[in-house]
């Protein structure tokens, strides 16, 4: 037990009391020892605090679009790392061991959820040995909890392919969902790094104002394609199509995650005369789409599915600039 008094003389004889049997023994420190102890304690406190102050919080996101929204709110005050490379199929990301090193230092992990990451992320989280980001903790944010999902199956079977029991997970491609997701991210950031509350609030307000202004622009542009009919490769763009009243005539995949069969393409050809364009993502093979496009001279529109998937989608704003631009061109 270490006791101190405010009296300097006493201060010099801080007593280190040790119980030894029934008797209490005192140890008097010399002045030099005292200075040493004080220095060590101060140094220790200093190191702990500066480590906490100097270290930027590390926020790891599964996809690039989440990182882009997060960066809008944190500015330079945090290190934001996205794991999945944007040119790859978001369902089948290679679980590289380098991601374990990134997850190990994360203070917050933000995922898309609705089982989009189920094929690659759970094992990485377990391997990262980081208690801060375990499912259900403060450091784990699942964005799918904040939006209403479509295509939630009432009955489920793997005969339906890679069907997601929680509904279609590509909800972030409806631009109107972005402010909702941004709010969830902003609120969680404030919980994780409360001392940055003012900064985050300022950035969040600016972002929402800017994004809402863009939404009006995109909404106006998209009225051009209202009521048209489209085919997509995978059910990536359903939220976008529903938002802007574009009819989905069919998908190139017979069921999600299963590559097209000639039988299925033949079936698709029966409805193709109503179709105005075919939406293709960057990661699926182009051959089936090219075949249909050439045979029926329907334009193929390659759309980014994530920030960075195409060269003109560098952040969350240009992602939708690119999508809206490409559909309405």
């Amino acid at each position: 037990m270490l006791t101190t008094t405010h009296n300097w003389e006493w201060h010099c004889t801080i007593k280190f009391m040790m119980y030894k049997g029934d008797t209490m023994k005192y140890k008097n420190f010399s002045k030099i020892q005292l200075i040493l102890i004080h220095t060590l304690v101060l140094l220790h406190l200093f190191l702990i605090n500066t480590a906490a102050w100097a270290k930027k919080p590390v926020i790891v996101t599964t996809y690039q679009y989440i990182a882009s929204i997060t960066e809008q709110i944190t500015g330079n005050s945090a290190t934001v790392i996205a794991l999945a490379p944007p040119q790859f199929d978001p369902h089948y990301i290679v679980p590289k061991p380098s991601y374990i090193a990134k997850l190990r230092k994360a203070d917050l992990l933000i995922i898309n959820g609705a089982q989009l990451e189920i094929g690659w992320l759970p094992q990485l989280i377990r391997q990262a040995n980081n208690p801060a980001i375990i499912t259900g903790t403060k450091g784990f944010l699942d964005l799918s909890n904040f939006v209403k999902k479509i295509d939630v199956p009432t009955a489920i079977s793997r005969a339906m392919g890679d069907v997601h029991p929680e509904g279609n997970p590509h909800f972030y491609l409806d631009p109107h969902n972005i402010p909702v997701l941004a709010k969830a991210i902003y609120e969680r950031l404030c919980t994780i790094v409360p001392k940055n509350y003012n900064l985050y609030s300022k950035n969040y307000t600016t972002f929402i104002e800017k994004f809402n202004a863009k939404l009006t622009v995109w909404d106006t542009q998209m009225t051009k394609v209202k009521g048209k009919s489209a085919i997509e490769y995978h059910k990536n763009y359903d939220y976008l199509l529903i938002r802007y009243s574009i009819h989905l005539a069919g998908t190139i995949e017979p069921v999600p995650g299963i590559p097209p069969t000639s039988k299925h393409i033949a079936k698709l050809e029966k409805t193709i005369y109503t179709v105005s364009f075919i939406l293709q993502n960057v990661y699926h093979p182009y051959d089936a789409v090219q075949y249909l496009s050439q045979k029926y001279s329907i334009p193929v529109i390659v759309l980014p599915h994530d920030v960075g998937a195409t060269s003109d989608s560098n952040d969350i704003f240009s992602l939708f600039d690119s999508i809206v631009g490409r559909i309405t061109q």
Partner: protein, 424 residues
Amino acid sequence: MKQFMQIVYMLFFISLLLQKGYPQTMADWQTSDPFSQAKFVPDIAAIVDVTYVQRSLDDVTHYEIPGFKDAHSKPSNHENHEDELNQNNGFNLNYVEISLYSQVDPFFDMFAVLHASTEGAEIEEAYFTTQQLPFGFKIKGGKFLSSIGRLNDKHAHDWDFADLPLVYKAFFGSQLNEIGIQLNWIVPLPFYMLIGAEALRGENETSFGTNGFTVENITTIDDANKPNVYTAFVKSSFDIGNYTVLAGVSGIYGTSRIDHGIGNDTNVAGDHGFYGKTYMAIGDITIRYDFNSYQYIYLQTEYIYRNQDGDLYSYDGSINSKSNFDAKQSGLYTQVVARLNQLWRIGLRYDLLAQNDVSTNHDLTNNLPRYSSMIEYNPSEFSRFRLQYNYDKSLYSESGTNKPNHEIIVQANITIGAHGAHSF
């Protein structure tokens, strides 16, 4: 007639109970079961592995890999309970794997993997891991596949071929699967580095073993102190563009008590046993290139070295004798696997038992190769069909002649239920 009437009465009473309609009455009061634990059911999956095998040698277990594996016809005190995969010509039900996984509480999660076959069931793995240890540490305890090497902790359905590389069969029988404890640490570096160590029971019958035995007129060897085997490993990985490199180094140390008949009450010529120390080292590297989401190619190679140093006891038909035994043996495999598209994968594998320096027998062959190729059709992540061809030059008859073995394996591997994603 009396029995018949009893059944009729029983049915009558059951029908009375049903007419009372207890469940319906319950539903009027309560719409949910307050004690239902349905949401806490762990992830359960079942994996079935069936093969059709055609090979040029009738029964491969009657052949030996000189210096590495005895022919099964020799008596052994250590019955190998594990069914060898693809053992019989014709159809084989290799295993039905039942896996269970769940979070236990905020502090632990737990895995259990049971392997059932027509012979019975055994526990392949059953372990817990910690979730809350600070500074990047984790403890794993129970029965598990040791994390040494590259392939050792991978389950059979995660292999790229229908069978294990020769080095694994030669040094571990199958894989190093032991009861024990592991501590691992993710080193806080900008790239991936894992350091780990294990203390294991060490019952592996091929390289270690814990059961003592008596060599008549010479000595009695006591059972081993447990843990009997210790391992340590370092793994590291980095990316360059679409290239991923993963490399590892592992070391294993333990004592060996291998009784191939010498401890039997009545010996026959050729019975032998080994008691001594075993040191092993493993180096592995994987280089993978991802062209896109559905096409990749990777090269994986693993080298295993074993040094066994101790006493060899043998029975020559009339008398037991003891001699110093020092064996330095090693081998490797190299495989290249490519995924052509969402449906098809192809692979080539070269196996070699390269070094066979045994102090008691200088005539052993140094080069024992095997060549394998496979093509795989994956309708989805949950079903896989594989055709594999092996040309195995490692097998010898008891008279000492090399018996090349041509082997064709057609494999179906099917998964149902909730099965977690695999690691890299």
